[in-house]
């Protein structure tokens, strides 16, 4: 099977490429760019005139909700959503039911995802059994089963001794820890940023210090143990500064921010809009600004969707009782483009933050269009606006803060291993 993508603007940050070129695909791999490989004869052709051809997107956090939460979403629905969003590789957190803390569960998930063949699914294993923060999981076994790192998702490790041991053990084998930074006591019961908006609305707040205190602890332990640490979902200006300092000191630390937090603040909660109930909470404009700047200057490495589909009922309750999270995998591209255009950055910068960089954090072979790389590709119109409507989202979760907004950046095709997994439905 040979495929030719013609006349597209090929942007591949890994190879500093941004030019109108043809892309040749054979046997699921990139066979050539610009120059046809000897004897190449395309079985089919995609005309990408006026479109961007980029590496398939890589998302550091997509909740697929299986096993256990099929009423919120299914593997099939969410991988369809990923394909529609141009995401071809994704990490999924272990906060399922049962928890991804046993190799058999990880193998099963990988096997089922492979059968659907809509995206490469890379599970993050639970760092502790049942995510209870008490005893370590079998990290070597889980890695063999396909885990690319370990995390507590949104669950804490309260005992600092356990946290320390987890870092040491992971460092022994060179595994990456994907951790959020949040002091569990300061965050307890909180549902919004502890500031003016929460005070006005009478919502229990989570202070910015909950992030910085936990972050300082994690960075300090990482320094002591030499663990590769990825800080997930930074939300505060102070957090960005702490990561910046740690990087300057040469620590092996990376960080991401959710696409939501780049564009929203506590003010967007408005009159108790439960779509704005996110974890970590939306913070102040100053924090949002620092996140955007931190991403620009490289302190923050990547943008992720933090895709968390929930059922409609879970948001039709008072704000504090609403389930946190946003359905976002279909919006990762437009939200990354929006950030780059606001910061007056190039398309290359936007694409790097959702391809090359997250792939490198996960340590997976993705995020580039190099010859012989896996032909995971997204083809999109960077300037085409589309309205975010519940009825058009593939995800079973319609819970996005951006509902009814117009965003630029429309995916036309998604390819995984050279096979089209999503094609924009043309109206005529």
């Amino acid at each position: 099977m040979k495929l030719l993508i013609q006349h597209g603007r090929v942007i591949d940050p890994a190879n500093q490429m941004d030019a109108i070129l043809d892309v040749y695909i054979a046997d699921g791999k990139i066979a050539g760019i610009g120059n046809a490989p000897a004897g190449f004869k395309a079985d089919s052709t995609i005309n990408a005139t006026g479109l961007v051809v980029a590496p398939g997107l890589v998302d550091l956090s997509v909740r697929l909700r299986e096993p256990g939460f099929e009423y919120k979403a299914t593997l099939n629905s969410e991988l369809q959503a990923a394909a529609a969003g141009g995401v071809t590789s994704l990490a999924c957190p272990p906060d399922t039911e049962p928890t991804l803390d046993e190799p058999g569960l990880v193998e099963m998930l990988k096997y089922r995802a492979k059968k659907l063949n809509l995206a490469h699914v890379y599970p993050l294993g639970a760092l502790t059994r049942q995510l209870e923060g008490k005893s370590l999981t079998e990290m070597c076994e889980l890695t063999e089963a396909g885990c690319v790192g370990f995390t507590q998702a949104d669950y804490p490790i309260v005992d600092t001794q356990v946290l320390w041991r987890a870092f040491e053990y992971a460092a022994t084998f060179g595994y990456t820890l994907f951790l959020r930074a949040e002091d569990p006591y300061l965050a307890h019961g909180g549902v919004a940023h502890d500031g003016e908006v929460a005070s006005r609305l009478g919502l229990k707040g989570i202070p910015a210090a909950a992030e910085s205190l936990a972050l300082a602890t994690r960075l300090r332990i990482a320094k002591e143990t030499g663990t590769r640490l990825h800080i997930a979902r930074l939300s505060t200006a102070e957090g960005v500064e702490l990561v910046r300092q740690a990087k300057q000191q040469g620590l092996a630390v990376t960080a991401d921010v959710s696409a939501q937090h780049l564009h929203l603040t506590e003010m967007d909660i408005g009159y108790f809009n439960t779509m704005m109930h996110l974890r970590p909470p939306l913070r102040t404009q100053r924090d949002q600004f620092a996140l955007c700047e931190g991403l620009k200057d490289g302190t923050i490495d990547a943008i992720c969707s933090d895709h968390s589909p929930v059922d409609d009922d879970a948001k039709l309750v008072p704000f504090a009782e609403a389930e946190a999270g946003a359905s976002a995998v279909e919006l990762l591209l437009p939200l990354a483009l929006k950030w780059a255009s606001q910061q007056k950055l190039s398309l290359t910068d936007a694409i790097a933050s959702i391809t090359l960089k997250p792939a490198s954090i996960m340590g997976v072979p993705a995020g580039t269009l190099s010859v012989n790389a896996c032909a995971d590709i997204v083809i999109f119109d960077a300037d085409e606006y589309w309205k975010v409507e519940a009825s058009h989202l593939k995800s079973q979760g319609k819970n996005t803060p951006f509902l009814n907004l117009e965003l630029a950046g429309k995916v036309h095709y998604t390819l995984v291993e050279g096979i089209i997994t999503y094609q924009q439905h043309s109206s005529n």
């Binding site: 502890d194 006005r200 009478g202 919502l203 108790f272 039709l316 309750v317 008072p318 704000f319 504090a320």
Partner: protein, 318 residues
């Protein structure tokens, strides 16, 4: 952002919070309440403004006092009243707030009076009722208790008519108090130049000064020369723990005694939304003293709630 409490022409559609309501509407409610004060003294304590309407008190959180005053207010307006204590029935069976509300809509209720222990519950209901139904927030979590805020300013206006020349102190657990939030918004909207809050740091919300109040931690300094002292109730479960060491120490530092009241203006009035913890936030001699207007607050509460219901029903004055 569109204010969900107002019709597009600026009339009141729901009463969910004082915040965001224009002064004109607050004054309209207070002036209308004035006309209802006399109704209770008539031989027939009824006006026919809500005749044929059904007012539904949905209380997801227990309350006797507030529910009773709403019930009396509705009955004096000739409405039919339905009381529902949901905390003990449906919610424990897994029914959601909106399920409960939809059932009552199907029974053709015209007005909902809602209390819930979660901030934003009244907003949620208001978003999901058909256009002809009005929602009155009778207290949602820590967020708002607008009729309490209104009856408090109504009481103040009775005793101190010149609102533009007052110094008012709110004392106690502001952090957990929907009453305090509604009072602050009502007072600042009506142009009271100096609103103070007096509390330990553990009982104040973050950035409370952004609500337009002056913060005092020393009660004596805070009470100096004030015209009105508004005490807040301290919930039992907060009296000892990480917020406060003991009710005794609280009474010593933030309880209102005659001695501390002397620091206020000689004609200062003392208010409390009830129910009081005598000997914790207020000394009995003050609660029952000459300067206390705590019982008139209750009386005026009925008139204010009648006014809110009458205005929401599109009606006028008594």
């Amino acid at each position: 952002m569109h204010n969900p409490q107002l019709h597009s022409d600026g009339r009141l559609k729901h009463l969910l919070s004082i915040e965001g309501l224009p002064k004109r509407i607050l004054n309209d409610i207070l002036d209308t309440a004035e006309t209802f004060v006399g109704v209770a003294e008539r031989e027939v304590k009824k006006v026919p403004l809500l005749r044929g309407k059904t007012v539904c008190n949905i209380f997801f959180e227990n309350s006797t006092r507030t529910r009773t005053t709403f019930e009396i207010a509705a009955k004096r307006l000739s409405a039919d009243v339905l009381n529902l204590n949901v905390s003990t029935s449906s919610q424990s069976k897994g029914e959601t707030i909106l399920d409960t509300v939809n059932n009552l809509i199907a029974m053709h209720a015209d007005m909902f009076v809602v209390r819930h222990n979660q901030s934003g519950a009244a907003h949620l209901i208001a978003q999901h009722v058909p256009d002809h139904i009005s929602v009155i927030n009778a207290g949602d979590g820590r967020h708002a208790h607008p009729t309490q805020g209104l009856l408090d300013v109504f009481t103040i206006r009775k005793y101190k008519p010149d609102m533009h020349n007052l110094r008012i102190a709110i004392v106690g657990d502001v952090l957990h108090s929907r009453v305090a939030r509604s009072e602050i918004h009502a007072l600042t909207t009506l142009g009271v130049p100096e609103v103070r809050v007096i509390a330990p740091k553990t009982l104040l919300p973050t950035d409370v000064e952004k609500l337009g109040v002056h913060v005092f931690h020393d009660m004596r300094a805070g009470l100096k020369d004030v015209d009105v002292v508004m005490m807040l109730r301290l919930q039992n479960e907060r009296m000892s723990g990480a917020m406060l060491p003991s009710p005794q120490e609280y009474f010593k530092t933030y309880g209102l005694t005659q001695e501390k009241l002397h620091l206020a203006k000689p004609d200062a009035i003392v208010m409390h939304p009830g129910p009081m913890n005598r000997g914790v936030e207020i000394d009995s001699s003050v609660a029952d003293g000459m300067q206390s207007v705590i019982l008139p607050q209750v009386t005026y509460g009925i008139a204010v709630r009648m006014a809110v219901m009458a205005i929401l029903a599109g009606g006028g004055q008594a």
